[in-house]
Amino acid sequence: MELVNEQYVTEKADMKELIIEEINRNHKLLHRHKLNKNSIHVGRDYHNDIILSDPHICPSHISIDFIDNQWQITDNQTINGTFVENPKEKKHEANQHIVRDGDVISLGKSQLRLLFSDHAVEPTVAFSAFESFINFMRHPLALFISIAFFTIIAGGIIYFDRPIEVNFSQLLVPAISMTLGFALWPAGVALVSHLTKHDARFMSQLAVSFALFNLMWFSDIFQSIVIFNSSSNNMLPMFVTFLFVILAFTLFWLNSYIGFHMSSKRRIVISACLTLLLFGGTYLIQYSKKPEFDPRANYNATIMSPSFLLMSSNNADKFIADSNKLFEQTSKKAQEK
């Protein structure tokens, strides 16, 4: 018992572990080394403890030595030098620098982060409530049903819009093309997360995207029903449009949750920006196409089968009374010039 204790004390006293992380310019981790030596050599040739292939680094670039209970960097009179480049600090020469936990040093075009074994780590991130939803949706059966459902609705819409008779294969081909087209989005997101050294998780992206696409179909139908049943005085359709914005935001949020590690604040900002880009961009395109003067009347002609008629009709007097306001509005516009 005593022996063990003594050994522990010795270890703590004369030897400190140093963790050296090779990082890229964006401070993303490339390699991690945990070293248990009094003197660590870093350079380009093969006798070093950490071998870096960067051509701007000298064969024996630096050594980091444990002296008087602290680590000290020695630059071996290198051609390109060694610098301490901590964020929020001024860059300075690293020769004779006493290492602090978390220091970032640059040598050649490479960067190293130096950490002690007692470095404090971020608190554990709990699974989000969406995790179980994502896991449920990426189950092969759920994923199949979700994509099949999307394809069926796409086929249905194509069927409804064709003014001529169509056979099954004439519907199937465009419906599948549409599904594949929509699958490009999750595929693209997965590709980007793969390229940025994250886990691609393509199936999860696919599952979540199609679940949200299906919800968008539903909200589309819901919106039509609401518009069909309400008069132009009613503000309800405006709120239903907002449903789309919420769904789009949720989609982007989930995409980034699955594909990228980032703080929740940053994720919200990025999702909000994408939503704004989508809806703002669409609005701008429509606005730019709008002619200066339109001889056509722009009205909402949404009509649906009587099965969707939920509200009772107004009488003609009410319609005429409401229409009076139109004349006042346009008269006012005419006088504005």
Binding site: Y159, F160, D161, P163, I164, E165, F228, N229, S231, S232, N233, E292, F293, D294, P295, R296, A297, N298, Y299, N300, A301, T302, I303, M304, S305, P306, S307, L309, M311, S312, S313, N314, N315, A316, K318, F319, I320, D322, S323, N324, K325, L326, F327, Q329, T330, S331, K333, A334, Q335, K337
Partner: protein, 423 residues
């Protein structure tokens, strides 16, 4: 073959030799009081439109068409009006009065009191011609010089709300505003329009007489106000006539009931796709319109009215698909008259689910209006109603009216809504 042509030529020339002689005589007699009217764009100094005109009083009042001088009436700062007489003399003209409904205008040139020759002027006939009577149209077509065209009076155009004479004889552009005289050199009409192939239209002489008399009594203070008052009065007259006429019920397709307004100036046409066996929707369309287009400027016409009724029935398709295709049919409706942003506002629309008092039909009804910028209280109105109470049949009723006031528009809409139903 050649002999035949010569023969025809000889026969024609002998039969018309009397007319030619008479035309020549009339032309020489009337020529001094005929003018070409030119609108000169002040900035470029070049003419922007031409027409004909004729002096009707000793003090230099010249009658012409409103559409010849419309640009000046609407933008007096941009143009100046000039006349050119048979001897090549030119001078400035002043706008005195217009009748926008009958496309007439009175302009005045300064008279040199010492010159007796300028005292020549046309006499307006006191009576209308009789059918088949030979008339002579005078004017300056395509800036080619003054000509005389003999033709025949064929009564009043049957289906026009505002009277027009049907004249058989070639009237060409540039002759607008020129007089049409009988063999006694009395004015019986004014050239106004053509529909090609020697079918010409004239404004009857009494419209000009009325305008001139009204002008002598009290000249208008502002041309724009005068036009607004004329447009308002005309739509009142039209709507009174339409609302007080009998509206017959007529069936459309299998179950539709639509109104047919019993007035001669509204004519209906019909069509259906009964010959197309593979059509998913069987449709029958009835289209009624008032062939009246009051010219305000080349970008702005008013006074038109059209009604369209469409009965549709699903043919081997479900209700949802039927309504999807049906919606595409009613998604776009535009104005029945030409207008641009200088003249009217954008359309604003109101829609609601409506069941008329007859309780026979349930509709989605849309009413859109746009206001006139220069003529207060006049609007273009567009109405569209689509039945939503039958799974496999639909009845669409639609109308547009140009240049109507609020009260008339809503009274008409109310009556129209009640007149469309299922039988």
């Amino acid at each position: 073959m050649k002999a035949f042509f010569i023969l025809v030529f000889i026969i024609l020339s002998t039969s018309s030799s009397f007319a030619t002689e008479q035309a020549e005589q009339l032309f020489n007699q009337l020529k001094p009081s005929l003018y070409q009217i030119k609108l000169i764009d002040k900035a470029s100094g070049e003419k922007s439109s031409i027409g004909s005109g004729f002096q009707i009083s000793k003090d230099g009042i010249i009658a012409t068409n409103y559409h010849v001088i419309s640009s000046y009436a609407l933008h007096p700062k941009k143009y100046r009006m000039e006349y050119l007489d048979g001897e090549g003399n030119t001078g400035l003209l002043a706008l005195k009065s217009v009748d926008v409904i009958n496309d007439l205008a009175l302009v005045k040139r300064d008279i040199d009191a010492t010159n007796d020759a300028q005292a020549n002027f046309f006499q307006i006939s006191a009576t209308a011609p009789h059918k088949g009577e030979q008339l002579f149209s005078l004017g300056n077509p395509h800036d080619l010089g003054m000509i005389v065209v003999p033709g025949t009076y064929n009564g009043l155009k049957k289906e026009s709300f505002n009277e027009r004479i049907h004249f058989t004889g070639s009237i060409n552009s540039g002759m607008s505003g020129g007089p049409v005289v009988n063999k006694n050199a009395k004015v019986v009409g004014i050239n106004v329009a053509t529909s090609g192939n020697s079918i010409g239209f004239l404004v009857p002489h009494d419209k000009l007489a009325q305008l001139y008399e009204a002008f002598l009594l009290s000249p208008p203070e502002s041309i724009e106000q005068q036009m607004a008052a004329q447009l308002t009065a005309n739509q009142n007259k039209l709507m009174t006539s339409i609302l007080n006429s009998t509206w017959h019920e007529k069936s459309l397709g299998k179950y539709g009931m639509i109104p047919i307004i019993d007035v001669p100036f509204i004519r209906c046409w019909g069509d259906s796709n009964a010959d197309k066996d593979d059509a998913l929707i069987l449709a029958a369309v009835a289209n009624c319109s008032l062939d009246e287009n009051t010219y305000i400027s080349s970008h702005f016409f008013t006074g038109a009215m059209e009604m369209e009724f469409r009965y549709m029935q699903a043919n081997n398709i479900g209700s949802n698909k039927f309504y999807h295709l049906y919606q595409q049919q009613i998604a776009h409706a535009g104005a029945g008259n030409r207008a641009n942003k200088d003249n009217v506002t954008q359309y604003q629309c109101h829609h609601d689910l409506v069941m008329p008092d007859n309780k026979m039909i349930e509709n989605k009804s849309i009413l859109c209006t746009r206001a006139y910028k220069k003529f207060p209280d006049l609007f273009d109105v567009l109405y569209l109603s689509a039945s939503i109470d039958k799974h496999n049949q639909a009845l669409v009723s639609h109308f547009t009216i140009a240049g109507i006031n609020q009260e008339n528009a809503l009274t008409f809409t109310r009556k129209f809504m009640e007149a469309v139903s299922w039988n």
